[in-house]
């Protein structure tokens, strides 16, 4: 089942990339399509951030991951490079977890 999901995502993601390079601009240039395409990834990313930070199975928790995410946000506000942002989240999460047991 996991292999099937991988194949589906691989085929789908490649098709979408090729589609953008290949179709005439007019098809994707409709204002509503453009706006939706800009907003769907934002909604999906924000949803994933919330779920992967506060979700634990099917319950909501506030734990070390929230501190890590806050550290990543702080690093972003300081315009830190991508890898520093991720490292800040990882280090702070590990530190808070180690300190609080």
């Amino acid at each position: 089942m996991i292999w099937a999901a991988i194949a589906l995502v691989a085929a789908g993601c490649y098709a979408v990339k090729l589609l953008g390079l290949s179709v005439p601009a007019a098809v994707l240039e409709r204002p509503m399509v453009r706006r939706l395409a800009a907003l769907v990834p934002i909604a999906t990313l924000a949803g994933l951030i919330a779920l992967q930070t506060f979700g634990e199975g099917r319950t909501l928790v506030v734990d070390a991951r929230a501190a890590g995410l806050a550290a990543a946000a702080a690093a972003l506000l300081l315009r830190a490079p991508f890898l520093v942002v991720v490292a800040a989240a990882v280090v702070v999460t590990a530190a808070v977890r180690a300190l609080t047991g």
């Binding site: 089942m1 996991i2 292999w3 099937a4 999901a5 991988i6 995502v9 691989a10 993601c13 490649y14 979408v16 990339k17 090729l18 953008g20 390079l21 994707l28 240039e29 453009r34 939706l36 395409a37 800009a38 907003l39 769907v40 990834p41 934002i42 909604a43 999906t44 990313l45 924000a46 949803g47 994933l48 951030i49 919330a50 779920l51 992967q52 930070t53 506060f54 979700g55 199975g57 099917r58 319950t59 909501l60 070390a64 991951r65 890590g68 995410l69 990543a72 972003l76 490079p81 991508f82 890898l83 942002v85 991720v86 989240a89 990882v90 702070v92 999460t93 590990a94 530190a95 977890r97």
Partner: protein, 248 residues
């Protein structure tokens, strides 16, 4: 991801070395984070082969993290795949802008397509002319593809030596990657690199609504479904905005 088109006025000519330097900076930095993906994917229960297949064949980071995150949380593989595909859809619009900018021959398009992602688009679109954009796209694509896949393999192999990824805080890496992507998307787009008019734009309210929808539905819906509910924030915000515009 760090490069965004911010030039104003007539673009100055850009030396090839500067383009290569910018492109390698993005390609190598982001390429290294494949290690985090490798570890995360292993921690979610995927095999080394499955993890490497994702980086080789899917090669769009957000979708990969989303898929393994959802599988790790116990989601049904096909619901997880739907979330990953939603995230991948934005690459079509990068491709659209790149096809005009790069003007690739038809024979090269199927090859170049695999590299149409956030980072290569950001670098290419930030260049002042077609030659620089082609160079930036290619150098970013090559360095990022190589780096991402090598470090994915290392991460997947190293994961067992690391033991429990959450003891190292690596379960916070996925959300941090998403946050960095989200920030670069909000900074880019129509605002031309500024946060100033952000209140007039639909992005912040969409992000907030999506987060609330995801968390509110988590206790009640099967794993993998809350992210699909969150995606509904996008059409909902567009419909509300249109109504408001019609009324005023």
């Amino acid at each position: 991801m760090t490069a965004s088109p911010t030039q104003t006025g007539p673009p100055p000519p850009k030396p090839r070395a500067a383009v290569v330097r910018d492109a390698l900076g993005v390609g190598i930095t982001v390429g290294l984070s494949g290690f985090v993906f490798g570890v995360t994917s292993s921690g979610a229960g995927l095999s080394v082969a499955q993890t490497c297949a994702l980086s080789l064949l899917v090669f769009t980071g957000a979708s990969q993290f989303a898929l393994v995150g959802a599988i790790g949380a116990g989601g049904a593989p096909f619901a997880a795949a739907a979330g990953a595909l939603f995230l991948g859809a934005r690459n079509a619009f990068y491709g659209l802008r790149l096809s005009q900018l790069l003007a690739l021959p038809a024979a090269l398009r199927p090859l170049a397509a695999q590299w149409v992602i956030d980072e290569t688009s950001a670098v290419a679109l930030a260049q002042p002319d077609r030659a620089a954009a082609r160079l930036g796209f290619t150098v970013t694509g090559v360095s990022l593809y190589l780096g991402w896949n090598v470090t994915t393999l290392l991460g997947a192999l190293g994961a067992s030596a690391l033991g429990d990824p959450s003891a190292w805080g690596l379960d916070a890496a996925g959300p941090a990657v998403f946050l960095a992507l989200l920030a670069s998307m909000m900074r880019g787009g129509n605002s031309r690199g500024s946060w100033r008019r952000i209140r007039e734009r639909p992005e912040p309210v969409t992000a907030l609504a999506a987060a609330v929808l995801a968390l509110a539905s988590l206790p009640f819906l099967p794993a993998g479904v809350p992210i699909l509910v969150a995606a509904l924030a996008a059409p909902a915000v567009l419909v509300v905005n249109r109504r408001r515009r019609d009324l005023s």
